[in-house]
């Protein structure tokens, strides 16, 4: 302590100002260039900094970059460093168990986690109607298991793979498109053509701008949830989500019949924090969805297709609005690209047993505890309410 006070006194006498704040000092001190500040290239060239300027408080050095100025003002002032004890959560490596880790975070995160933080949901789904259906048939039972990952790495890996494959196809398509109609070159004979390529090389400024844009994009991704990111340096938050529902009539609890639906529905994408409501995050999910759900024919109808099939390739959006930390309302819309088939084939689509609807869904999710939740859903899978177009669903699950 005595050394610190002496250091502050010396720095005040030497520089004519109080010691820098702990934050800036802490940032500046590890900088290896602090020992040779005059070598900084950002110093204004019209006023070259003399070594003596460090000992002349009347003539402070004018520089364009404030960081350089502060760096210049901290010569051998390591004793001055005053580290403010910032309350930090323990590293997972210091935790004795999963329960210790969860306990130091919060015993009830509730809907707050929508704004960030990696977690998984697993739930048992029971429901009826909304997706697969048959003309004139009773609503079909929809039972299954739903697994959700939010802000995790599996979503990132899958999306990275999809993007990589898409990029390969795009590049291939681009190459094919460019190579076919337009070829730069010249003929050297009746059957021989020399093809020439042209390249555009970035100059220094263009390269710097490109790098700056890339860095800004990276920072934007990292700052989706800065508060959450600061909460624990070990948090993982990819800003991505994946939802997989596997329908199987064998997991139906109440009405296990041969007409139960079987198939899958997988959606994935990214999320955006739009704002806050009651201090809790309002989140918009945007992504793509693929689904194929089938069911046996309804025995009560004598006509129709042997099986019913709901198929979807499309885009979806889902808005989560937290009502309290214990409840969330969400509303999602799916745009099924296959819906265009109705424009071409009309009613024949469903008479053949296929459903290519673009369902909309409203959900109310209740967090009974931080780890157990229940969700009720209403699904509208077409115009009208007949033939099981209006469906309901109920989830009971855990968060891990």
């Amino acid at each position: 302590m005595r050394f610190i006070l002496i250091g502050i006194l010396i720095s005040q006498l030497a520089f004519g100002q109080s010691a820098p704040t702990s934050d800036s000092t802490v940032q500046a001190s590890p900088n290896p260039t602090s020992e040779t500040p005059v070598q900084e290239p950002v110093v204004e060239p019209a006023k070259p900094v003399e070594p003596e300027t460090k000992t002349e408080p009347e003539k402070p050095v004018e520089t364009k970059a404030p960081e350089a100025k502060e760096t210049a003002l901290v010569p051998a002032a390591k004793p001055v460093v005053q580290e403010v004890a910032k309350p930090k959560l323990k590293s997972p490596l210091e935790m004795k168990s999963a329960f210790d880790y969860a306990g130091q975070r919060s015993w009830f995160n509730g809907t707050r986690l929508l704004g960030g933080g990696l977690y998984y949901q697993g739930s048992l789904v029971q429901g009826q109607g909304g997706y697969v259906r048959g003309v004139g048939a009773a609503p079909i039972d929809m039972a299954g298991i739903r697994i959700v990952e939010r802000h995790g790495m599996i979503s990132g890996l899958i999306l990275t793979g999809v993007v990589a494959i898409g990029s390969i196809f795009a590049l291939y398509g681009s190459a094919m498109a460019n190579s076919t109609p337009v070829v730069e070159g010249y003929m050297v004979g009746p059957n021989t053509m020399v093809v020439t390529d042209s390249y555009r090389v970035m100059n220094g400024a263009q390269q710097a701008a490109y790098n700056s844009d890339a860095a800004a994009a990276s920072d934007a991704i990292a700052s989706v949830n800065p508060g959450q990111m600061e909460q624990n340096e070990n948090d993982f938050n990819s800003g991505l989500w994946t939802e997989l529902t596997i329908f199987d009539r064998n997991v139906a609890l109440l009405n296990r019949t041969a007409r139960g639906a079987s198939g899958y529905d997988i959606s994935m994408g990214g999320d955006l924090k739009l704002g806050s409501f009651l201090g809790l995050p309002i989140v918009l999910d945007i992504g793509g969805t693929i689904a194929n759900i089938q069911s046996a024919r309804d025995n009560t109808t004598t006509a129709g297709a042997p099986t019913y099939e709901y198929s979807c390739i499309g885009a979806m959006g889902r808005l989560h609005v937290p009502l309290t930390r214990f409840a969330t309302f969400s509303f999602d819309v799916t745009f099924n690209f296959k819906t265009f088939a109705y424009l071409i084939e009309g009613d024949a689509v469903e008479k053949n047993g296929f459903v290519y609807s673009s369902p909309i869904r409203a959900n109310l999710e209740l967090h009974l505890t931080d780890r157990i939740f229940a969700r009720g859903s209403a699904v509208l899978g077409g115009f009208g309410f007949n033939d099981g177009k209006l469906g309901v669903g109920f989830d009971l699950g855990v968060r891990l």
Binding site: K96, L113, L118, Y119, Y120, G152, M153, D248, R399, L400
Partner: protein, 256 residues
């Protein structure tokens, strides 16, 4: 000579102990699937005890032997907001072995009947599997000791040319238990594949355990598979095939 034979197990034990004690242990006792290491290469041997049953022939027992080399990987990546460890593991194996040696002495190769066109008795084995893991329960007793219990989900692909049925990727769900004490680690999986497939409905239960002593890996695996032909075809008469596979592995773990 008798005394010399009796000393062999003790020498092996001493060797394994030396491997375990000289191995530097990871700061995070629960991170990797092979002790302090995320990767392993190993040799495996399989013994298949099975029977096929057709409507015409009834149950006929047969056996198959194979072996090969494998590469395994597994680690934990991140932790959820609830303290759940998340990670992934998987393995790739390539080997070869006999065809189906029936109790009547005939080798039937990928058929329910003798194949005069293909009398080869050698089959190729290829396996690949990948699983995501989430472990909501874990305890770290010290820097070098811990316990992890979790769930797994993934898919496996089994291509065995002497098999009667053909299935593509088979989804799997299961549980995982890892116990680590210093240079010793026990890694146990139990996986279930619900009935799936088009031509053949395959259901599978698989249990495997790896013992890791430092960088030395010893493993065992038991698999029970039941495949039912959905429909009769000219090649495959409608029937049931049940196979039990007993596997042993010996390997070497590496990586940080």
């Amino acid at each position: 000579m008798k005394n010399g034979n009796q000393q062999v197990p003790f020498l092996l034990l001493a060797l394994v102990s030396a491997c375990a004690t000289t191995e530097s242990t990871s700061r995070d006792s629960l991170k990797h699937s092979y002790g302090s290491h995320p990767f392993a290469v190993y040799a495996f041997g399989d013994w298949v005890k099975a029977s096929d049953a057709t409507l015409l022939s009834g149950a006929r027992p047969f056996q198959r032997y194979s072996g090969g080399l494998g590469f395994g990987a597994g680690t934990q990546f991140a932790m959820t907001s609830f303290g759940t460890l998340t990670g992934a593991e998987g393995e790739v194996e390539l080997g070869g072995g006999t065809g189906n040696i029936h109790s009547d002495g005939k080798i039937r190769f990928n058929e329910l009947k003798p194949d005069p066109e293909n009398p080869a008795t050698f089959s190729i084995t290829f396996r690949a599997a990948a699983r995501a893991k989430i472990s909501p329960i874990w305890f770290r007793f010290s820097d070098e000791a811990g316990l992890r219990i979790g769930f797994m989900g993934g898919a496996s692909f089994d291509g065995i040319t002497s098999r009667i049925w053909n299935t593509s990727f088979v989804s799997q769900l299961g549980v995982n238990l890892v116990l680590r004490i210093g240079g010793f680690q026990l890694n146990t999986n139990v996986l279930y594949s619900p009935p799936q497939g088009e031509e053949w409905k395959l259901a599978r239960i698989q249990a495997n355990a790896n013992l890791v002593f430092g960088a030395f890996v010893l493993g065992g695996r038991w698999t029970l598979e039941n495949a039912v032909a959905s429909t009769a075809t000219p090649t495959y008469q409608k029937g049931l095939v049940a196979e039990q596979t007993f596997s042993a592995t010996v390997g070497f773990a590496f990586g940080e």
